[in-house]
Amino acid sequence: MTHTSSKDRTEIKKEPTAEEQAAIDANMANLKLKKSWETAIAPLKQVPMQGFMLYMSGNSVQIYSIMVTVMLFMNSFNAILGTNHAFKRFESTSSGTDKKPPSNANLIFPKIVYILAQCVLFGLGVYKCSSMGLLPTSHSDWLSFLEVKRVVEYSSGTYLQ
């Protein structure tokens, strides 16, 4: 019964015309693009939350703060590596009649923005490391690698007395 009715429905549904199909595709593409932009910007939305978490974890080198920071690094690193995967569902599929390969040129910008947004998160981690004093940016980090200067002159004066 159910089967019949659904069959009926499909029968009822008309095949879209080429124009209609094009419109649907364009609509779909637009929607995907819109969605892809949302995905691209999503990491930025995490920034305040991550920032808050980092702030809460404190600047001392402890297991919790290290964990939070490492997770942040790992997440953003993995996300950057998996950029294509994240945008896979927004790729235009080969639908319709034309057998042209799907053009994903319009996903490049969202991807770049996505990577940049992940970089912002990554940067947040770097900033966290810096504020925890884990980045070798100061003179003190390189102090032990400095060579003692060779003194050119030699002077002494000891009486035998």
Binding site: S138, S155, T158
Partner: protein
Amino acid sequence: MVAIQFVGALLLAAAQTASAIHKDQVGQLEWLKSLVGQSSHVSFARSQAGASLAVGSVLADTVAVLSPATGSIVWRHLLAANEALLHVSRVILHLFNLFFVRTVLAATSFDAATTTFHVRTFDVATGFALSSVVVKQKTPTFCDNSKLCEKQVSVKLVTSKTETRLVALLPGSTVVCIDLADSRIVWLQQLDASTSFSQLETSAGNLIVLGNANGVVDVELLSLADGSVKSSPDPSLKTFSCYSSASNAVICNALGRQSAIAAFVPGSQSIAWISPSDLNLGSINSQHLNVEPLSATEFIVSSNVPGAVSPASLVTVAADGNTPKVTVLHTFPEPKKGYKSVYSATAGDKRNPFVARLSFSTKKGKGVKTGSVTSVGVLEFGEGGLIVSIHLDTVVKDGAPTIRLLTYFQDGTMTLFQQGKTKTLAVKWERDESLAHITDSVFVDFPDKYSLDFDELGEPLKKSLELDPVTRYVKRLTGHVGQMQGFLKTLPTFLSSISLPQRNQETAASFNKTAPLVADRLGFRKLLILATSTGKLHALETKFGHSIWSRYFGDSTFAVKDLEVLRPTAVQNAAIIGLFGTLEDGKKSAVQRINAMTGDAIGGIEEIGGSDVLVLKVRQNGVNVYPIVDTDELVVLYPNSPEARDLFDLQLSTFYYYRIKKGDTAVRGFMVEKLPGGEYKGTQLWSVDLPAGEVVADYVQKDRTEPISSLGRVLGNRSVLYKYLNPNLLALATLRETKSTSNVYLYLIDTVTGSILHRASYLGAGHAAKGLDSIYLIQVDNSVILSYYNHGPEAAEVLVEPEVKGSVDRDELKETAGSNKRRKKNTLVSKEGNVVRNTSPNVKGYEITVLELYEMPKPDARIDRFGLNFASTLSLNTRFSDTYTSFNTQKPSILQQTFVFPAQITAIGSTRTGAGITSREILFGLTSNQLYGVNLRILDPRRPTGPITSEDKEEMLFPYRATIDYNPKEFASHVLEVAGIKTIVSTPSSLESTSIVAAYGLDLFVVRRAPSKTFDLLSDDFGYVTLIVTLVSLVVGIQVAKHYAERKRVSDQWK
């Protein structure tokens, strides 16, 4: 990086806790040699408490009593540095109507600080001070030379039924009578100052004072009651020496009257002249007559002509009417030719007189001296040079007379011989007092156990190299199996040793003298080689203080002044030490090379120059060359080989030297040029003339060999202050003193260019008192530490800052002087109207000023070779040049802070470790006879004076406190008394945490210090057992769990 930070954090954390030692560690980590110095006054004393040996040392300024039975110190008093001991005499006090006898030591000393004389008496049995009298007298100028002063002191005791008085003849012709009961001066008589009186004798109610007035004998007779001058008997004598008995007669020998001896009984007011021939002394020169009192009227008269026989007679002197009469009681048989004799008689009048005579020869012969004791036997004295003095003591024990003999040798050894049951003299004990007069010291490593000539199984390497690999492998395997078997045998003892918490297994008693002299695993065992002013060299091992060898240069005039390691210890090869010294009383300079392990001379004594030479050192490619500079600035190399000359030629263009001595008013710098003939000559390059009135009080050059672990200091915000580490930096403290004022100035001079990098004034600072040196300097890493006594603002001499040659910025001067926030800012106006800030706090006391030198005031900035600085935080080492030259440099940035030190300092030193990672400890020798350590973190100019910030906390800075706390845990000498520390030296051990410190002056003390605690050692109470039990239980647990897991897996599969 993290590791270093971690280690640093560990060190800092450790430094906060004190490194006190446990009770059972006492004697394990340190050793002490208590000494009394080369004695000048020796007397055997006997009292109810028993026999004792009283010694006084003018050289070491000590009064002490030793036990004749063991040679150990019963008590000892070391005079303050400003007091010079002049005379020690043993006097016998009769108390309560002669019933109670008390033996007392009377010590006379000259106090340079107050220019007064002190006469003190000490109870021989206990060492308690019985009385102390200060005699304020016009200072005889010659007392600056204590040797002259010593000769003019004579002390006698006068007892009567009612009171006990001490009469003392003091330098400057002063006779003073002291009542010992209430320590007061009864009378004081000033005699003619032009006569140098040297002898004081007492006789019935009178005092006889003898002196020399321009070659004529001056004899003064004083009344004992009030000191009034009575008369002078015979003024015609020319040279004399007089001896008196306890109460009655005086006997003198006199030159001028040929072949005559004068006997003088004071009551009779006349002198009898007796010819030596009447005394069976033969026709001899009376100049060499020696008279020794035995009892009230009995004397031994002997002749001591050098090289001739010394006959002697026992005589009595009695008053026969108005004329003295001399009767010969006994004539002693003549000893061998060239022998000297000393005599001694039993004390006490009631006993039969017993006279002992010791004849001894001082003939030279390969350093071995022999002496013979008449009718006792021949004594063999070991290598100790000539006998300086012999003291003979006789005592009647159980009715039989026995003798005791104390000999003093030139090398400072003191030996006591005692007659045993068989009547032969045997060595009872020996003390080596030369260690109280150390002039220089050096640490040397013991050779390694392993050598390059032998393989690990002890086989010669040459042999084992010839074998084929398989045989070698089999051999090694069998060797290891053998070692394993050996280990299994000792396993029970090994297990029992780890189960009990044991500290050092090796103790001083278990020290094996026959064991080969090799380095220990942790490097605590080193050789401490000491040169002494007696001419004796010592080599002691630092773990327990055992003597490895000693050597005496007595037969020559060679006096060792400076020890230098010519070649350090390398694997199994012993180090070679160069003994730099003088010959013929400083007229010539010479060097002698010795093997550090055996003390054997390598070659002979080589002359290297005239007097007053500079011994410099050039080190290149591991080879040391010593340029010797004479007073004409001619430079001679030691060794003077072509290789050494080539090496020196390479350094010549960058080689400089300077001349400075304590008491100088200028520092002069020189460069060396090669003359056409190939000689080297110094040319003056610069001179820093100190402003008028300033003299050099102390100076110290930075130690070139100091390890540098870090080039900068990391601040709280992780920026770096780069340390100013110029090895040519000379710190110089000068003193400007007037009658009422005293200022100290500190100069930091680059000794290459002579430029004054810093000058600071400490108004009101100086020595605590005349003769009490308080200005000491030390350079540690990038710190300069200065100690002085602050006399307060009234002693501050406010001067317009003088222009010093080398010109220092005057604004900077004032700024430095006023930079100390703690100090009162009294603004004074000098005579010239210039406003000068007086920085002296209104507190008198010892102060320590610490200066830290940094390349730049700003963090992360460095002095570059071209005078530029790159303040960029991103700049790395590649942007800085890798060489440092004094000719293109800037003044360092200096931080300064002053601390009040709560004790009087006699010496400053610092610990030293292998890599310099461990924080340094500054060690102070104190007048309380202790060695005190202050961590350099306490002496830190960066300690914040205001509220402490988070960055300060990050840097682990302590807030500033003006006074350095006296922490009982920081006494390196803990309960021990280390008297008269004058020098503190240190050497690293193989452990980075631990430094071996030696402090000497009078005593010699060696201790291990770990300023950051022993972070590189497992603690003594480490739970080895817990660790092993945990490991074993883990293994067992794993096996059990594995078993059950297996069973479960199988049963699961059956389901």
